[in-house]
Amino acid sequence: MENKIKVTGLNLWYGDNHALNNVSIDIYKNHITALIGPSGCGKSTFLRCLNRMNDLIRNIRITGDVVIDGKNIYDKDVDEVSVRKHIGMVFQQPNPFPKSIYDNVAYAPLKHGQVKKGQTCDDLVEQSLRRANLWVEVKDKLQQPGTSLSGGQQQRLCIARTIAVQPEVILMDEPTSALDPISTEKIEALMLELKQDYSIITVTHNMQQAARVADYTAFFHLGLLIEYAETETIFINPVQKKTEDYVTGRYG
């Protein structure tokens, strides 16, 4: 099994608050890894360390290594903007740009110079929308605003927008928590399809979701990585008492 991301000794402080405490974890290629844990446990913070989104927050201090494809992304010679191009991100609230569906998908690849306007760009938009299982629903209204779609469609548009940039890893920060069960199901099915081409790391509060989609699950608590194993192990036969208490709903 190929290793995609190797995190060693990752620490993060918000001011004096030690939010991530010596986290080390290996994330595997073409698998879905779920991060679970109670609110404030640091799972979203950890996720945002993987594409250096935390750099946007002031008063933050990070130590440790996040090695992706053999390169530590916190090295001095790495530009965080380039990291975010390779490590895509989908957010909790669907946040399409207030532009047309087409522009939502085409904007970033055009800016990155990955495609030129015209047929190649049209092809990329179609391919990305198909990949996100949205093409059939929107192919006749590509010029309508992305915000006119339903919540679930908007989230799939955001996924299409992310994969249009051709990342290798997709980070998802509670991608279904704002969606109804049917939209959630579609997103989950999509995640299972996408893992063939991408490594997916998702944060979720929904333990059934983790059990349904994730190959590996990491349980965080108070900034510590308590347990990390195959999803089945975490849910059926956890080693740590805390993990067992959490996944069985005894606290959280």
Binding site: S82, F91, Q93, F97, Y107, T162, V165
Partner: protein, 389 residues
């Protein structure tokens, strides 16, 4: 003791409802009072100002003679001397000098009447002598005295002869001044707001800048006039009373207003849009330029137009830098002496002649009209550029 009529009976409730009604009536009274003030002000202005858009003209026969070349009063019958504008007489020798062929000819024209005749016809106070009044009445009966649209009011500049005074130099001055203000304050203000909202790190230094900008927005405008006088005129030696200095001074005054409103517009853009951009690997500039600014633009524009409208109605700082001067010719460059509409209103309001009362009111109407159209433009642009979510 009476039995309870029903389970929802509440003896205190009536009192509470009464208090609520009383409070509602009080708020209604407040709004009614402010509307009636506004209504009174506007009606008074229109009633006083409307007559100024008409001016009296008298039909006369001009005799272009050698005598009238040196003494223009000889061009008309002696009886017209007091009822025709002095300014009209004064223009005659010039007319003959330009066109010598006029000598020894006659012409029947409508001549501008004296302001006293004008006021008499409009039913205001006047100091015409009985003899002149009879003459005017007589001419009016013959149809040789009429009220026409006062084109002079817009094509002439200020004059000490009330019937000849117009708003042109003030309008041109306002346009030139506001141009300077806009060209300077809009880009500077928007840039500052973008820096403070999108790029600046929140530390003591930026907080200090922020507090100062908010304070600047509340400084009495006359102090900006003193600042303009000290810096632009005394230090830089720019020409006094000019639209350039006026525009620079007003730009200083408008800057904090534009910054504050532009920052509010930028702050109202949800962070999720920025996150989406950064998540795709866009640079800060791409996020700000392509996603944040277009969304904030209608708000920035509205704030800026309101700020400029504010600057347009400003008088105090311009008095300090000398834009209150008597300007008989409209300026045609930024460095010539100029005046602006509100300053012109101020000047006319202090004139002793009765005829200036209606000029003042009319100028206020023009200014209000311009300000209202500015606000209308702001609303239109807001609607036009608004992005649907």
């Amino acid at each position: 003791m009476k039995s309870d009529p029903h389970p929802f009976a509440d003896t205190h409730l009536r009192k509470r409802h009464r208090r609520a009604r009383w409070f509602k009536n009080l708020t209604l009274f407040a709004i009614g009072l402010s509307i009636s003030f506004l209504f009174y002000f506007l009606t008074d202005m229109v009633v006083k100002g409307l007559p100024a858009f008409q001016q009296t003209y008298i039909k006369v026969t001009i005799h272009y003679t050698t005598q009238s070349q040196s003494n223009p009063f000889a061009a008309l019958d002696k009886s017209y001397r007091k009822i025709i504008s002095r300014a009209w007489y004064r223009a005659l020798p010039q007319q003959m000098a330009v066109n010598p062929a006029l000598l020894n000819t006659q012409a029947e024209v409508w001549a501008l009447a004296d302001d006293q005749v004008d006021q008499y016809l409009k039913g205001h106070y006047h100091n015409l002598k009985p003899k002149e009044r009879t003459l005017v009445d007589h001419l009016q009966a013959k149809g040789e005295v009429v009220l026409k649209f006062n084109a002079l009011f817009f094509s002439h500049s200020d004059s000490k002869i009330p019937e000849f005074a117009g708003l042109k130099s003030a309008m041109v001055g306002s346009v030139l001044t506001l141009f300077i203000t806009m060209v300077l304050a809009f880009p500077l203000g928007v840039m500052t707001a973008v820096y403070l909202e999108e790029f600046a790190i929140d530390n003591r230094w930026t907080q200090f800048i922020e507090i100062n900008i908010n304070n600047l927005a509340a400084i009495p405008s006359i102090l900006f006039g003193l600042l303009g006088l000290a810096i632009f005129i005394n230090l830089f030696g720019l020409p006094r009373s000019s639209a350039l200095v006026g525009g620079l001074t007003l730009a200083l005054m408008t800057l904090p207003i534009i910054i504050v409103s532009a920052r509010a517009a930028l702050r109202s853009i949800p962070d999720s849009i920025r996150q989406a951009g950064y998540g795709l690997g866009l640079s800060k500039l791409q996020v700000v330029q392509d996603h944040v600014l277009p969304l904030a633009f209608p708000g920035i524009l509205t704030g800026s137009i309101i700020g400029l409208a504010h600057a347009m109605g400003e008088t105090a700082p311009l008095i300090i830098i000398g834009m209150i001067a008597f300007i008989p010719d409209s300026p045609d460059s930024f460095t010539q002496a100029a005046t602006v509409m509100p300053a012109q209103i101020f000047t006319w309001a202090g004139m002793p002649e009765r005829a200036y009362i209606e000029k003042t009111a009319a100028a206020i109407m023009v200014l209000l009209g311009v300000l209202l159209s500015f606000n209308g433009l702001a609303i239109y642009l807001r609607k036009k550029f608004a992005v649907k979510w």
